[in-house]
Structure formats: C-alpha cells, structure tokens
Symmetry: C3
C-alpha cells in the first residue's frame, strides 16, 4: 500500500486513524465521552490552533473554534483564497504562476504562531494516483513544526471517524454488530475521504462492515485491503457488495455518496455512471429491511436525493448526535496532541 | 396580521421587539445603560455565540464579536457562501440544486456547538408575500435548540431598534416627543427591516412617530397597523404623510431609504418610482424646519445622497453614538437571553 | 517631503517607524526580545483589536490574532469586500457608486467597539502621486478615536520593519554592518511599502544600506532622502546602485521585488521594464559574493523566481525566524500603544 503510506507522520500528527492502535482509539473515545459528560476539565489555556481551509466547512470549523474556546484556547480561521493567497505544494517549481507562496514557507511560519495546525484539502478530482498521495496534507505534515490535524484530506477524514466511533459507543454497538456503509446517488462526484475513514474506523472497532455500492463505485482497493487487515486484528470483518440484501441485519446504515474511481477525473463519464443509480437513496423501505438500524450521515446531506425526508426526520436518524460528537471527539484529540508537547 | 405572526417564537428567541412588552424593553434599556456606564459586571464566561451571516455586516458583526469577548464569551463568525455552502430553507424539497445542506440539519447541529445563534438574512426582494414570512429567520427559530437572535431579517432589525431606544433615552426623549422617520433617495431598492423596527420601537416607547415618504413608498400596511396598536397601548401615535411640513416640531429626524412595495421585485419599475425623488435628501434646509432635531441613521449611509455632508458633520448628527449603542444594547440582550438558560 | 508627511499622526498611532526616534525603536525591540524570551508578562486582558484588511494577509493576520489572544485580548478579522461593503475615502463625494459607506462613519464607529485598529491598504497602483499620500491609512488615522496600526499601507509596512530590526539584533548586526536591499524579478508589479520600510529601518539602526536595483527600479526619491537624513543622524549610510558588485561585504541580503516608478500605473510599459531583468534572482552565486550573508525576505516569496531553492533551503536563510519575529515585535507594539491609553 505504497501510495497511502507516503505521508511522513511524526508521532504527534493526526493524519489518519490508521496511525493509531485500536487501544489508542478506545482511549480517546473514553476521553471524549468524559468531556461530553462534563467530567474532564483539562484545559488548553494559552494554546492557539490555526485552521487552514482550502475547502468550505461548517461543522469542522465551528466545532474546532467552539472547542478550542471551551478548552480555554483560541482557534484562528484561515481560508485559502478568501483573504489569503494560493499555496504551491510541489517541490522545485518555478513559481511564476498563480500561487504566491510555497507550503515550505507558509507551513513552518504558521507553525511559529500557533500550537497546532489543522488543514482541510479535498482531493482535486483529476488524477487518483496524485490525489491518493494526499499532497497538501503530506506537505503540511512534512513542514509543520507543530502537530497537524487532518480536517479532511484527499483520502481521509479521521475527525469524522472519531465522532462516529463515539456515536457507535453511545448506540451500544458491540463487536461484530453489522454496519452497512452505503453509497447513495448525488448530483456531483464527491470525495471518498469519509467512506474511507468510516470503513477503517468500523474495522478498528471490530464491527462487521459491508460496503454497499454499485460495482462501478467500489472504494479504492488499497483502502479495502487496509480495512481488511485491521479487521483481521480486531476480529471484525469487511465485505462489499451491490446487493441490497446486505441491509438485512444491519444495526447501522451509514449513507454517503462518492464519485467513481472507474472514471476519475472524467466528468462526463463519471456522471454517466452515476446517472444509472438515481434510485440509490436511503428510504423507509431500505430501513425496514434492517435490524431496526440507526441512520447515520456525516452531513451536509441532500434531502430526498441521498436520503428521504421520512428517514431523516424519523427517530432512526442520529445524524445530529453524530455531528455534535465532532465537538467532543475533537476536544479529546486536541487535549491528546497538545498534552504531548 | 397573519403573515408576520407565522414565526414560531419560543420564549427565549429574540426575533422582533414586538414580542416584548414596553416594560421588558425598558428593563433591557436600563441594563444597556448600566453596561455602558461600567456598572454591570455580569459575564458570559464559557458561552459561545454563532453568528450566521447570509448578508454583509460591519457594525453587527464587530459589535457582537467585541461584546461577547468583553463579556468573557466568544463569537464565531460564519458567512454563508464565503467558506460555507448554501442552505436550503424550504420543506420537502428534492435537493438536487445548488444548496448542499438544509436548515433542518444545519441549524440544530450549529445549536449543539453554541449557546446562542445569531442570523442575518435580508429579504430576497422578489416576492413580498414570501419575504414577509421571513423564511430563513423562521426556520432558524423553528429548528434551533438554543436562543436565536435576529441580526436583521427580511422584515425586522430589532437589535438596531434596541440601540435606537437607548439613543433616544440618552437624548432625553419624553413621551409624545415627535420623531420623523423619513424615506430618502438611494440608488438601490433597500430592505424595510430597519424602518419597520424603528417604527414599532418608537411606538413602544410612546413617541409620536410620523413616517415621511412619497406615497409610492408607504411601509407595509400590516406593519403600520401593528405600530398603531402598540402606540394605542403606550399613549404614543403613528402617522404617515408625503408632506415635508411633517418635519416641524420633530426632535429626531431618522433617515433611511427603502424600496417600494408598489413594484416589489420589479427592478425597473421600482427604479422608475425612485427616480422621481432624487431630492429626498436630508439637508440643512430640512433640519432647519425641525425643533432643533437630532439626526439619526442606522448606517451605512451614502453621503450627499441620503443625507448631506453638512448634516452628517454637524453637531445634530448622533449616528456614531447610535452605532456605538449597538454594542451596549446587544450585550444587555445577550445577558438576558443566556441568563434564562 | 510634503506628500509623505500629509498624514496626521496623533501621538498614539503607529503609521511608520519614521515617526519614532532611534531610541524609541531600540526600546521596542528590547521589549520584543523580552517577550520572545518569555520574560515580559504584561497583558491586554479585556482589550480588542479590529483588523481591517483591504488586501489579503497570512502572516499579519495570524500573528496579530495569535498575539492578541496570547496577551489576553482578542482580535477581530474584518475583510473589506468579503462580508463587508466597500468603503469610500474621498471627501465631499456624492456616494451614488459602489461604495456603501464612508470612512468618516466606518472608522469612528469601529473605534467605538475596539481599543486599537489595524488597517491594511496597499497602493492602488494607478497614480503614484495619489498613492504616496496613503489615502486610506491617512483617513483611518484622521477619523479613528483609538490608536491605528499600519498593517501595510501604500508606502510603509512598519510592522515588517520592526520584525526585521529584531531579526538584525538576533543576527548580531553592528553599526555600519552592510545590508544589501536587492530588487528581484517577479511576474507582477508589486508595491514598495516593504523596501521603503526596510530602508528607513536600516538607516535608523545605523547600518550601511545599499539598494541594489536596475536603474528603472529606483525607489522613490523622497523616501531615499528620508532614509539618508535618518542615516546621517545615526551614523549609518544609504546608497543605491545597479552594480552587483555591491554584494561584496554584505552581512545581510534582503530581497524584494517591486514595480517601477518610471511606468507607474502603465501595466504594459512596466511589464516591459521588468521583462529585461528575469536574471535578477538571488542565487547561490550571488550569495557567494557576500561576507557569508544571511538571506532575508518578508514573504510570501516566489521560489526560483525571486530566490533560488538553493538559497532559501540553505542555512543562510533566516526568513522563518524573520516571519516569527512579526509576532514578538507586534506584541511589543500592542503593549506600547495600549499602555498609553
């Protein structure tokens, strides 16, 4: 799994949950639960987080900024492009184009002002080989002098996965309970960072996870293998199918749309693949096949496209708790990373 | 007054001053004056305000952010469209268009991260029947789990009205003193939230208020009736005219431009109506007809279009004090709303 | 030097280091060094800084926001144009164009909400006579009721100069040590605020400064004279040349690109002038001619255009320390300005 391991990860970065053992994950989720219950009063007084957003954000930005303040610290919101120039990430480039600054300057300099650096940089969507190297996140990890938090990169969204882990704990999921991670239709080809991270997290928690998707929408083979190897160690399992029968027995239906790797970067070709499956929407009918499953989604979600109003407005939906858990999980993460310093 | 009362208002939202009794308003203005005088040291340590701006802001954003910090809390600035995706507010929609998230998710989720939620959403300016339902503010009020503050909606700007009430107190206005709320020329059709709110606030304070405007620029009839019914209770009065003689005896001239309801959503037709009145500008001549009136405007104001340099730069102008009072009034409001929690 | 002195500077603004004596500068640099060493624990609890950016920023915004928080205060980030309307700065204008608010309202009002006001407003680049009056900064200085900090204006970037002074102290520069401030090629005509400020700061520190540039890129004559008169008082010296021999003996090579005053506002003509000098790039060869000089640049810098990877990645480069010193110098500045209040 060469490409995904290209990233340099010093001990104190948080780039993917796959860098952590199942025990480290469990410990963090315990801290997050304690914070949510008001039982952890550790603080980060005097600490500053820099949040660099190359893509939009609602939950991530708000929960980190609120969380840092609630811990006594402060978060600075930096949106590249909005009030900040473009950044170059490639090595050896003659910078006579649009980018006014290289990450080799911007990242170490930012890390002189702050104590922890979050970065959001989605996949560019042209070339999967390139995107799967996670170039922006990798360069932040390489050049930062302070811990880096992945606030969603080309291939991983580990903060979402931590929140999901906490949500599964709250839903009393046990080892080998079944979770179906299902693809859904969407008008645009979306990134795979969330399904990738949910998959490896489910494996790390010892769940039996089935990826339900049309065959053209299989996740990256290396990510599937990584999840399988994690599941082998935890006693969970990983499976994939295009058969809706997979919903039977599910305790969790986790919906998410993503683009096809079969036509990656080919906008029209990819759209044609997706156009075959407008009926892949989580509806009441789908939910009825499950074992009284809870419905999850990382949000934002398109109503009556990805999931019906009926499901989202039912008691089965725990998307709001799931989103709230971003706050608690990230506060636990911040305490862990900054306590190391 | 069906349309304006469509909004669900739980006790702890602040959507319009019309939800408050004159006594509640007076009490808040007393608190605001005490804060301004440095005599109120209550604080909001640990509290977070989320400010959702669907439209630009200078005073509102800065005064809320400074105010929350000065009270020991923290305000998060969220601008929809700038670093945040578009929000859908209609029910039952198949979300295959531009909006990536529905308020039914965004609002409750935000309210899990913060303790109070401010929202600014101007009228869209196409259909007054639709705008007068205040769809965005209404949905925030409906779906938020924490108090919502109206930071200017399609029909109301109650934070401005609170600041104005404080400014009138400082100017020693007494019951039945005369205030002229005058329309002025402006190159664009502006919203009516400010004149609406100033009008009902003046009525609630027992002032004699005259709306001075060309006939094509009459305010909404239901708002006028609402103001009249409030004035009846407080002993004030509400009048409207296109006769500049109304300036005689005024203690306050409050200028503001707004678009015509006669051609609402019809850009060219509305512009033609406005084009008749480029001379509706508050000048020294206008002010000379008053009883040594003070000049007020909510800002931003276009110099030598809405009001002459001569008036704005004279001692009669109290627009800066008025703007400063946003800070003090809003701090009183925040203390009131968050103390209820 | 009429045009540069048009600005009204009340005692407590910080518009240019030329308003300060060499002793005042030295005192501030001592404070900055103490802050960096953790030996100055003065704080600004309860104080708010408003940062008004008419142009993008990374270092300035992040270092001021982090610095205010670290001192116990709070900084508010206001970007004109992004979530804020355009501001008019000319007197007597009929405001029927794009700008919705005049600085005569915006600035005093902002100064009612905050304790110190930073403003960034680059040269417009059309007319040097107009730009050299620094119209936006001047009007902030004129209308603000609180101290104004120049966060880079049309002609000065004094916060950068303070950071550079601290960096020179750390590099143990002594009186009459040689610094070469060199022009470099760049695809766009950049402002002159940084070279102007570095020049007068070097003079104020008693250094021997040579401005190395093609003849078409001479700095403004009045700025050169100002620097020479400062140098005369401190025992330093100021020189300019297009001869690369000037690199000999340099202890510091400070690179920066800027546009030509010979074709100011004439985009094509200026580009033609610049196009003659693509080889003006600081390379290892250039550095070898110096007296083991350190390399400085205010950042952002275009790699392999302004300076080669080889220089920037060598031990000679102190650009990151230089950038870090923005934080410490600005904290010293904030303490100085707000302690006066």
């Amino acid at each position: 799994m060469a490409k995904l391991s290209n990233m340099e990860n010093k001990m104190d970065h948080f780039l993917s949950t796959t860098d952590w053992s199942p025990e480290e994950i469990e410990s963090l989720l315990q801290t997050a639960a304690a914070i949510k219950a008001g039982k952890n009063t550790a603080n980060l007084a005097g600490k500053v987080m820099g949040m660099v957003f190359l893509n939009p954000s609602l939950r991530t930005r708000t929960s980190f900024e609120a969380g840092m303040y609630q811990l006594g610290g402060h978060a600075i919101n930096l949106s590249v492009g909005a009030g900040m120039w473009k950044l170059e990430a490639k090595e050896g480039v003659v910078m006579d184009g649009e980018a006014a600054e290289h990450v080799k300057e911007a990242v170490p300099v930012l890390s002189r002002y702050v104590d922890v650096l979050g970065v959001r940089a989605f996949a560019e969507g042209f070339d999967w080989t390139e995107d799967s190297k996670d170039p922006v996140l990798s360069s932040f990890a390489k050049y930062s002098e302070v811990p880096v938090i992945n606030m969603e990169s080309a291939i991983w969204h580990p903060c979402q996965a931590l929140a999901d882990g906490l949500t599964w704990n709250e839903a009393h999921l046990k080892k080998n309970d079944k979770i179906v991670l299902t693809w859904a239709y969407h008008p645009r080809a979306l990134p795979m960072a969330v399904p990738n991270s949910v998959l490896v997290m489910a494996a790390a928690r010892g769940l039996d996870v089935t990826v339900l998707r049309p065959n053209e929408f299989a996740l990256d083979g290396e990510v599937m293998e990584k999840a399988a190897s994690i599941a082998k160690a935890t006693g969970g399992s990983v499976d994939e199918t295009d058969n809706l029968e997979a919903l039977r027995g599910a305790k969790i239906v986790y919906a998410k749309s993503w683009g096809s790797l079969k036509a990656y970067g080919n906008k029209e070709g990819e759209a044609a693949l997706r156009a075959q499956y407008p009926h892949w929407q989580v509806t009441e009918e789908w939910m009825q096949q499950t074992a009284d499953a809870k419905f999850m989604h990382c949000l934002p979600v398109r109503r009556n496209v990805v999931v019906s109003d009926g499901v989202l407005d039912s008691n089965a939906s725990i998307v709001q708790d799931q989103a709230e858990n971003r706050l608690h999980a990230q506060k636990a993460l911040l305490l862990k990373l900054l306590a190391q310093k």
